[in-house]
């Protein structure tokens, strides 16, 4: 089942997505089932279908794991609080991939 959601990028990650800071998507589970998609499904989709930039390693490592230094926030909550990669995306969710800043 396709779920509408908004993906946002910050901390420089937007550079990998044609400087788009906010993208509206309608996403299905990647196994083609009726299940709602998870964060992993979203990450795969972003890598395979959306990312313009070839430097995939700035977003994911070891396949489709979000790389260290990138916080994933789902509706203003740390993904760690809601199941991380296995979180099942709900209609209207806002998912922010925020690269940690270090400058001062």
């Amino acid at each position: 089942m396709a779920v509408p959601l908004t993906v946002e990028f910050s901390g420089g990650l937007e550079a990998l997505f044609n400087n788009e800071r906010s993208i509206n998507l309608s996403l299905e589970s990647r196994d083609g089932s009726e299940n709602s998609p998870t964060i992993t499904d979203l990450v795969v989709y972003l890598c395979e279908k959306v990312m313009m930039d070839k430097r995939r390693e700035l977003f994911v490592i070891d396949g489709y794991h979000v790389r260290p230094g990138v916080l994933v926030l789902i509706n203003d909550a740390d993904w760690e609080l809601v199941g991380e990669e296995n979180y099942v995306i709900q209609p209207g969710d806002e998912i922010l991939f925020a690269s940690t800043l270090h400058g001062g």
Binding site: E8, P68, L71, L73, D78, H102, G104
Partner: protein, 284 residues
């Protein structure tokens, strides 16, 4: 024996009067500030505004850690420094400037870089620590040392048109730096500077001083841990997000920690190795 609770003299009543009029501070809070020692690590774009307002607020002791000297390119955002400061040690120029504004505060200069072999000895003497540094390595060092010494850490960062801020080590179940950022980012690009707009880093530094005032005056605790994201030009300007608590798997504060104070001070735990290529500020 008991340490006498400091009173305020007439000059302080006048000086801090408007701050004391705020019920959340009051005389009680002002005296609490006077009894608090705050350490600012880094006297740059974050540290300068933080220091100005910590000094203005009347903390008892303010320590400043920075080994750097003032450069012309610092001046737009490192607002404690004048053109006459160029070439001087930042800690010296900073203390001069701050003391001219508030001589009630005891200023302590630490003209050194934070390293694994000096950080515990410095941090130990303070109650609250502000991370105003600019590399992953210093951030992990400070994160670990403050956690192991049980000091609240107000950590902020900024780059280009964005800033982030989080208060760490709050209570037994609050997250430490490693709980939130267990792995350092990989260094994948050549060293180049991504730039910064003055007010962006200044907002973060000012908010750091605010968090320190809240901590010292008893207004920061009990709430679930949050992180603040600021974006000056694009997208939603402000987000305050709920973040995770202490992670059982954390190598510093988890149920089976693998990094101790002596591991760090002896150099047995190798930060250069841990941070790998990410010794410099992040960039895309």
């Amino acid at each position: 024996g008991d340490i006498a609770v400091p009173e305020l003299d007439l000059e302080e009543y006048v000086r801090y009067g408007r701050q004391m009029l705020v019920p959340e501070v009051g005389k009680r809070g002002q005296i609490a500030l006077k009894q608090t020692k705050v350490l600012v690590v880094g006297a740059g774009g974050l540290g300068c505004p933080a220091l100005l307002y910590l000094s203005g607020a009347g903390f008892g002791t303010i320590g400043i850690v920075d080994h750097d000297t003032v450069s012309l390119s610092n001046l737009p955002r490192q607002t404690l420094y004048s053109t006459a400061s160029i070439g001087k040690l930042k800690v010296d120029a900073a203390v001069d400037e701050l003391r001219s504004r508030n001589a009630n505060v005891k200023y302590v200069s630490h003209p050194v870089a934070v390293r694994h072999d000096n950080i515990f000895e410095i941090v130990r003497h303070y109650d609250i620590v502000l991370d105003c540094t600019d590399t992953p390595m210093t951030r992990y060092l400070l994160g670990d040392a403050t956690r192991l010494l049980s000091k609240p850490l107000v950590s902020a960062s900024a780059l280009r048109t964005e800033a982030q801020l989080v208060v760490l080590n709050m209570g037994a179940e609050g997250p430490c730096y490693r709980c939130v950022f267990p792995d350092p980012p990989e260094h994948v690009q050549a060293c180049s500077d991504a730039g910064i707009i003055g007010p962006v880093v200044a907002v973060a530094g000012v908010l750091q001083s605010l968090e320190a005032i809240k901590l010292a005056s008893g207004h920061n605790g009990g709430q679930p841990p949050t992180m603040t994201f600021f974006s000056a030009i694009h997208g939603r300007p402000w987000r305050c997000v709920r973040i995770r608590g202490r992670q059982k798997s954390c190598s510093v504060c988890g149920d089976a920690p693998t990094v101790s104070e002596s591991d760090i001070t002896t150099g047995k735990y190798d930060y250069a190795d841990f941070c790998g290529g990410s010794l410099d500020s992040n960039q895309y």
